[in-house]
């Protein structure tokens, strides 16, 4: 079985090819995967063909999209560059040692709740992409942006309640980006061209990630009750820029302004706050949330106090079935890594965990270096 012939952007031609949703679905199906129901529906994107995700890798306007594409191609098994060994291959969790103590009920509950969490996470990712990819030429539809932002807020509130929000923020805070790169990310948020094919691709992937769980249908996500919290979460400065375009020109080029807008309360506060944060505390949420929301919107913001890049990246991919994307696995048809079980997922979502054992830390670093390399090219530093 050949790997999907996606061209990886890190060493490649200008326009990486995005497989059409139908092609991707067919490929996944050939892997004996259960597809989530929406891929069976005749829901074609509105009118446009599968346009390439980015116009030019050197264009910093497309950086965010570029990065997303990087993840996707890697995950799809493009082996000419980035290896995926960094995915946790059977991270041995303490949980499994205590497996005897776990009852069947909590196992079933864990499965359902973790599939819900996955769904919620994929919805969050989808929403963020929708927000980031605005039309380049025509002003984006404000109503649509507001509705998507409100959805993101809802998810964030619920995740903050669950205590899973901290994990999300940490995953986005790996690497060694410099402040100037945060600036790039902000600019991208309001300038990238919207590509209809991309969100579909991404979400197919997300659904694919829950292979070990129940195949989640739309119904699961649609009928879930959302916690009714009343906090007023503020969006970050970067999101604001999408709407206040008359102010955009000035702030965008002003490094200092952007820097100061993110220098909020000390970085160390955020981790602890999110755990214990009572969302009803207006003060706290307004202090904490803009930064965390900003971290989500500005994908490459860094926190100085972030744990080492390895664990962050490990968390980023820990909820994905690693064995699936291993190229060797696909070629030989042998599952070399143990499948992700429900306990693994639970553990990855837990706010605190011990230092995970990573199969190949060197590959993590090489991937980070490649990321830095790409960043340097784009930013031109």
């Amino acid at each position: 079985m050949k790997p999907w012939p996606a061209v990886c952007p890190s060493n490649c031609s200008v326009r990486p090819l995005a497989p059409s949703p139908a092609q991707l679905a067919a490929w996944l199906q050939s892997q004996h995967t259960e597809l989530s129901t929406f891929t069976h529906c005749n829901l074609a994107p509105s009118g446009r063909g599968a346009a390439p995700l980015i116009q030019h890798p050197a264009s910093k306007h497309a950086y965010v999209a570029h990065h997303q594409r990087t993840e996707v191609t890697r995950v799809l098994g493009c082996h000419s560059c980035c290896r995926i060994d960094m995915f946790s291959k059977g991270t041995k969790r303490k949980f499994s040692d205590d497996g005897d103590e776990i009852s069947d009920e909590s196992l079933a509950g864990a499965q359902v709740s973790s599939s819900y969490s996955l769904q919620r996470q994929s919805l969050l990712d989808m929403s963020l992409i929708k927000l980031q990819l605005c039309h380049m030429l025509v002003e984006p539809n404000l109503c649509r942006s507001v509705l998507i932002a409100n959805t993101v807020r809802q998810i964030q509130e619920e995740m903050t309640h669950d205590g899973t929000w901290q994990v999300v923020t940490e995953t986005f805070c790996g690497g060694s980006q410099s402040p100037s790169e945060r600036l790039v990310a902000t600019e991208v948020l309001c300038r990238s061209r919207e590509q209809d094919a991309e969100p579909k691709l991404f979400s197919v992937l997300s659904y694919e990630g829950c292979r070990e769980e129940e195949v989640v249908t739309d119904e699961t996500l649609c009928s879930v009750s959302v916690s009714d919290t009343a906090s007023d979460v503020c969006l970050s400065e970067s999101a604001r820029h999408c709407w206040e375009r008359d102010e955009f020109v000035e702030v965008d080029r002003d490094d200092e302004a952007c820097e100061s807008s993110r220098l909020g309360p000390g970085d160390d506060d955020d981790d602890d706050d999110n755990d214990d944060d009572e969302v009803d505390e207006e003060e706290e949420s307004s202090r904490v949330d803009p930064k965390t929301m900003g971290q989500v919107f500005g994908t490459f913001e860094i926190k100085n106090s972030a744990p080492g890049p390895d664990s962050a990246l490990e968390e980023l991919f820990s909820d994905v079935d690693a064995s699936y994307y291993d190229l060797d696995t696909m070629l030989t048809g042998i599952q070399s890594a143990p499948k992700m079980g429900p306990y693994d997922l639970l553990d990855s979502l837990a706010p605190s965990h011990g230092p995970p054992s990573i199969g190949s830390p060197s590959n993590c670093r090489s991937d980070l270096n490649e990321l830095d390399h790409i960043m340097e090219i784009i930013v031109g530093s």
Partner: protein
């Protein structure tokens, strides 16, 4: 209901014609009958307005009574570029509203995202001949050669319909205009964008009054936008506007200059059992229309149409499900952006029936008295001229009957967002992407 195609083709039993080719600029973006129903205006994505006129009944051609033919076509808006923001301003016509007819000419307001224009459509069937200073072909005559004076005479000519812009109301909206509505005083009208509503006088183009402003001081706190607005049909001081959170506010312009505080607030309490991440999005109101009587108003959200009594704010008096079978598909519809589609709705002349569009070129009509509803399809294959329209049904689960369509085979690219109902008769206009269908109810 008999059907005939008004997009230029008489019948669909022919070779593919120009109308079959798909031009994105031809996507119809608004449909509106005038006050008498004699004229039907459509606006499209390319900034053009096409006006259809109903044929008069004549003994020679009894069957042609009631057919709509193209009356006038003109380019209303052109694409523009906002140099300050480096953004394109689309020429797409968002709304057309007719003014009540006061003389032989017809007037309508058409708007794109930023600019509203008042157009005068007038007929010319006479021409003056016998000028003194110029020849019949328009060349100037040498004044020294003129020896006698004559009075020009009006001679008949072929009918010519001219459209000329009489007023241009520009630079009053920072955000995208979504609604315009002519007031019952016939002197003023309102225009609404995402965050503000302005009141204009039809004669004054350089000034407008801002009557609603929901823009927060800090844009980070923005959570709600205006989605539609309309003037009351009889009370010139009353108007309503709907929001993306599913609420409607009725305002009285006599109360204050800035109507930020509503007089009435309409909101249906949410059903906690059906709450999901998409609850807010599907509650966003895409259209609001007063009934002709002025007693009721109708709102369209993603899955339903609701009729409200203006005297009761806490819940609608009637709710009609348009395509409830989509509730389980909301995630997919969110992903492909269909969940943000803005469907319109309309009343019939007597307020006894309402109509709205759906996907797969389906549109739905609800009879408020009998509580019956019907689903019809606007497509060439299924509607021959003079043929009855067949009711359609969507199969929601289980065994699919013979003529039913399953939810999964619905075409979500074929959406009917814009419909209009003749103000007096049972004639409806349905815009299906780039085709306009006109259906009539023939009872004889």
């Amino acid at each position: 209901i008999q059907a005939h195609c008004a997009s230029g083709c008489v019948t669909n039993d022919h070779f593919p014609c120009l109308a079959d080719l798909f031009f994105p600029a031809d996507i119809i973006s608004t449909v509106e009958f005038n006050y008498s129903g004699e004229l039907l205006a459509t606006g499209d994505k390319g900034g053009r307005v096409v006006i259809f006129q109903r044929e008069q009944e004549s003994k020679n051609r009894p069957l042609s009574r009631g057919e709509y033919n193209v009356y006038s076509t003109f380019q209303s808006h052109e694409p523009e570029f906002d140099y300050l923001k480096s953004l394109e301003i689309e020429e797409k016509i968002n709304k057309i509203r007719w003014l009540p007819q006061q003389n032989a000419a017809h007037f309508l307001l058409s708007t794109n995202d930023k600019t509203i224009k008042l157009w005068k459509i007038s007929e010319r069937d006479k021409r003056a001949e016998g000028y003194n200073l110029k020849d019949e072909d328009g060349r100037l005559r040498d004044p020294f050669r003129i020896t006698t004076l004559r009075v020009p005479v009006l001679m008949p000519m072929d009918l010519m319909v001219e459209a000329s812009p009489r007023r241009i109301f520009a630079n009053a909206h920072t955000y995208h205009i979504n609604s315009i509505s002519v007031n019952s005083d016939h002197e003023t009208y309102l225009s609404a964008d995402d965050l503000r509503i302005n009141l204009w006088h039809l004669e004054i183009t350089d000034r407008s009054f801002n009557i609603v402003d929901i823009k927060p001081a800090n844009m980070e706190e923005l959570t709600e936008v205006i989605t539609a607005a309309e003037c009351h049909p009889h009370q010139c001081n009353v108007f309503v506007y709907s929001s993306s959170k599913g609420t409607i506010r009725l305002c009285d312009m006599r109360a204050a200059a800035l109507c930020d505080r509503h007089s009435k607030f309409f909101e249906e309490p949410e059903d906690p059992s059906s709450r999901s991440f998409f609850s807010e999005i599907i509650s966003s109101i895409s259209d609001v229309k007063f009934s002709h009587s002025g007693r009721y108003m109708m709102t369209r959200d993603y899955l339903s149409v609701k009729v409200w009594d203006l005297n009761m704010e806490n819940r609608p008096v009637e709710t009609y499900q348009v395509h409830e079978y989509l509730r389980s598909k909301l995630c997919s519809l969110y992903e492909n952006d269909c969940i943000f589609d803005k469907f319109e709705c309309c009343w019939n002349g007597s307020d006894s029936a309402i109509m709205t569009g759906s996907y797969n070129n389906f549109f739905r009509m609800f009879d408020r008295n009998t509580r019956r509803d019907i689903t019809l399809e606007a497509s060439r294959e299924n509607s021959k001229p003079r043929a009855m329209l067949k009711p359609r049904k969507v199969c929601t689960g289980g065994k699919r009957k013979k003529d039913e369509i399953s939810v999964d085979s619905l075409d979500f690219n074929k959406k009917i967002l814009h419909t209009a109902w003749h103000p007096k008769e049972n004639v409806i206009a349905v815009a299906a992407t780039n085709n306009l269908y006109i259906f009539q109810d023939k009872i004889n």
